[in-house]
């Protein structure tokens, strides 16, 4: 590998490597929280971390960030329908 090759590689691999570091850090946070259970409603903090991890994978690893609007809509569509499924079912279970 020449120096230019290295530079090219790093230019293209920067985003994946940074997202890798971020994901590992977030996972570490969740593992520590899960192993130590430092406060009562710790699941709220854990859920927030999970949302951050999901967004990192979607936006950076799967490159939704740089995709045209149509693909962005489809990447969000499933999550929106998941909310419908959860929301309408919980209307029943939370009011039994």
């Amino acid at each position: 590998m020449t120096r230019e090759d290295r530079a090219t590689l790093w230019r293209h691999m920067r985003a994946p490597v940074l997202s890798f570091v971020a994901l590992m850090a977030l996972l570490a946070v969740n593992v520590v929280l899960g192993a130590t259970l430092p406060f009562r409603a710790v699941w709220v903090a854990e859920a927030v971390v999970v949302v951050c991890m999901v967004l990192t994978v979607l936006l950076v690893s799967m490159e939704v960030w740089s995709e045209p609007p149509l693909v962005r809509v489809f990447s969000a569509l499933g999550f929106f329908w998941l909310l419908i499924l959860f929301g309408m079912t919980l209307v029943d279970y939370l009011t039994r």
């Binding site: 020449t2 890798f20 899960g34 991890m53 693909v71 499933g78 279970y93």
Partner: protein, 219 residues
Amino acid sequence: MPDAVTAEAVDIELAEQFVTKEQQRDVGTLGMWAWLVTELLLFAGLFLCALILRIQFPADVTLATTHLKFWIGATNTAVLICSSLTMSGAIVLSRLGWRRGMLGCMLATACLGTLFLVLKGYEYYQDYDENMMPFLARPYALGAHPSTRLFLDIYYVTTGLHGVHLITGVSILLVLTWQASRPRFLQMHQNRIEIYGLYWHFIDLIWIIVFPVLYVLNR
């Protein structure tokens, strides 16, 4: 340049139903995203079951969760995050036309996927050993709390279904690696690497949700 990386031409071959290559690329990407929507909703039902069990039997779900192998689950999450990095590497290298590096990254991804499956298998073996498989006709360690078995069974269905996806993913990846090892692949089908990459990342994404839902949030 004595050891410069040899870059190959990168392109796709126009199939007969399309007018432009750009259209063909967009169709591939959109098609995979549409498929991933269905994958997410497939797992959504299982997440819903887990949530409802937690609402109905909070104590039993916590009891069952504490018997899951938290550290194996965490290690496996890290393994899949690594495999995401190598998959991203394969995509980047395919765009640059560095075929050898790309093939290496793809093989590394397949290895990490297999490592995940091996660890998962070991986890199942431990569960079996500790009499934590209530759906089998054998003693069940938490038999005094019958509702715990509901959560455990959802755990097996979810991880099993994810495992099936991973086995499929590794198999397709190996076939793709074999195809990509032939000359001219990158000139004809470069976008297949990108489309497959989306699928792999999404299996990781599903596990990134599965791990906390089953192992962490209910502790």
